[in-house]
């Protein structure tokens, strides 16, 4: 993005409060073509912000524009904007195809068959399109909802936790679809509370913590900053000393301690390498892994870290 480039989504000093609870506090941000990830722990205000960006909710203060137009009370804008909300509810009595056709009709498309075929093809659900949505798995429903959000070929796509309920293969397909979309010059804003979910897709990220924008910018720069943060992981095995020794021998583990009940607490600044290597080390040394879990609620601690800095 160049400095002179107009933002596609422009959020100006937006706040939202419900009674005495401030959900979003004086947030200003800009979103440009490409894929932007909106990250934050649960309760950070991501969904409320997305509701205001998509015009679903009014701003208590400030304003949001998309493509230079006000996002609120502006139905015509939805010709260029596709929205996939966090709620997974659908009309269970409709088939997947009827659901996408319904979205196409509401967006004024005529005839609908070609765009519906294209949208369903994009999410790879041609085989089950004539089954009722009530019989779909959670992941299939999410993909059909994505097809409905894409059916009118929007310039801007806003998605709230779109990967909920999807399996790794579906995530990969989702990733490809989004990258393909972004390559066409479109603007995609994806929210998630799971860092790794957005890491592989987004080129820019917006970090929200406690209703405020904690950081915004190039993903790699923020990721590098995040990598300075040490993570604590609890590892339970049938051979704790052997595992501790194996872990201590790697260059991405800062410290390993053996606590009560022989549980290991591992401190690392490279959680991705740690996650990959624990099962490998266990296999190599013939150790049986009983439990591996993060000790700190990782995103919250990461965000606190970023905010504190």
């Amino acid at each position: 993005m160049s400095a002179s480039q107009e933002p596609v989504i422009n959020v100006q000093a937006v706040s939202k409060w419900f009674g005495s609870v401030v959900a979003v506090n004086d947030v200003s941000l800009q979103v440009f073509p490409g894929i932007t990830g909106l990250l934050g722990p649960n309760g950070a205000g991501k969904s409320t912000l997305l509701h205001m960006i998509t015009g679903k909710a009014s701003c208590s203060e400030g304003e949001v524009t998309i493509l230079g137009q006000p996002a609120r009370d502006n139905p015509g804008l939805y010709r260029s904007v596709g929205v996939m909300s966090e709620h997974e509810a659908v009309y269970g009595f409709q088939t997947g195809r009827q659901f996408v056709e319904f979205a196409a009709k509401l967006h004024g498309l005529h005839p609908v068959s070609e765009p519906v075929d294209r949208a369903i093809g994009l999410v790879g659900l041609e085989d089950v399109q004539h089954r009722t949505l009530a019989t779909y798995s959670r992941g299939m429903r999410q993909r059909m909802r994505l097809a409905a959000a894409l059916v009118h070929d929007p310039q801007v796509l806003v998605m709230d936790e779109p990967l909920n309920g999807t399996d790794p293969r579906q995530r990969l397909e989702f990733h490809d679809t989004m990258v393909h979309f972004a390559e066409q010059g479109r603007t995609i804003l994806i929210s998630s509370h799971i860092l790794e979910e957005v890491e592989s897709i987004a080129t820019r990220i917006l970090l929200m913590v406690s209703g405020k924008l904690a950081a915004a910018g190039d993903f790699r720069a923020i990721r590098a900053k995040l990598d300075e943060q040490a993570y604590q992981v609890r590892v339970v095995t049938d051979s704790p000393r052997k595992m501790a020794s194996a872990l201590a021998g790697t260059d991405y583990v800062d410290s390993v301690s053996i606590g009560e009940n022989s549980e290991l607490t591992v401190l690392s600044r490279n959680v991705a390498s740690l996650q990959r290597s624990i099962p490998q080390l266990a296999q190599e040394h013939g150790i049986r892994l009983l439990r591996v879990e993060p000790l700190d609620d990782s995103l919250e601690s990461i965000f606190s870290y970023v905010v504190d800095r």
Binding site: H51, A57, S58, D73, Y78, Y91, G108
Partner: protein
């Protein structure tokens, strides 16, 4: 618009709701049939009984309750299931969302109520056309006004049904029956006045009790348009869950 209409029809025709509505609509017909075949042949008795049946059972009770059960659910279902976003995050003008929702409830409960009222009137008035037409027109106006009110109510609160029930029982049922001035602000009052105004000789018992016919027509039109406007405005201004 037709896409929303048909989805709404499908949403509103759940088996339990339809059975309940059918049973309620069948009540006046059942009573009219029993009286027609059991009571003696005094025509004035049949007319008085039918007038009371139409006033106290159909127009005061069944008309608002059936319309309420369907119209509050038109948007109530969407809010409860959190599917309203599928309708509102589209380029459709807001009236093109509200109107088909209201029409869907109207199309389901209107014919049922008309069949119920027309059948009861034909039986009680020995097949006379004029009172039957008066009842049909009055019920059509009543169901239209109630649909607008209750469709709006379903959009304003997820607890529209209990609120609407209190409104129907207290305002339309008790208060408007005993305090004459309230009829000027009551759909029941408009419905009865239109019925009486279209055929005064057939409904002499209503003559002195109801408000003026032109006032009723204008009142019903104002209520319908007002709640249509409020519903569309609500759709524009509300935060979609």
């Amino acid at each position: 618009m037709s896409a929303i209409f048909w989805v709404s029809i499908r949403q509103l025709t759940g088996p339990w709701r339809i059975v309940l509505v059918l049973l309620l609509a069948a009540l006046p017909v059942g009573l009219a049939v029993i009286v027609h075949f059991v009571a003696d042949d005094d025509p004035s008795f049949h007319r008085d009984f039918t007038t009371n049946l139409l006033d106290h059972m159909l127009i005061t009770g069944i008309l608002p309750i059936i319309t309420m059960a369907l119209a509050t659910s038109a948007f109530g279902n969407e809010l409860e299931d959190r599917t309203l976003g599928y309708l509102s995050l589209t380029p459709l003008a807001r009236w093109r969302i509200f109107l088909p929702k209201m029409l869907a409830s109207l199309v389901i409960c209107g014919p049922l109520l008309l069949i119920s009222g027309i059948t009861a009137t034909l039986l009680g008035f020995d097949g006379e056309v004029r009172p039957t037409v008066a009842v049909a027109v009055a019920l059509s106006v009543g169901v239209l006004s109630y649909s607008a009110i209750f469709t709006w109510a379903g959009l304003v609160t997820t607890r529209a049904l209990p609120f609407a029930l209190v409104y129907v029982l207290l305002w339309e049922g008790v208060i408007s029956s005993f305090i004459r001035g309230v009829d000027y602000l009551s759909v029941r009052g408009y419905t009865l006045a239109i019925m009486s105004g279209l055929d005064k000789p057939s409904f002499p018992a209503l003559g002195e009790q109801v408000i003026e016919f032109p006032v009723a027509v204008v009142g019903a039109a104002i209520v319908t348009v007002l709640f249509l406007f409020l519903g569309v405005r609500r759709l524009r201004r509300m935060d979609v869950p």
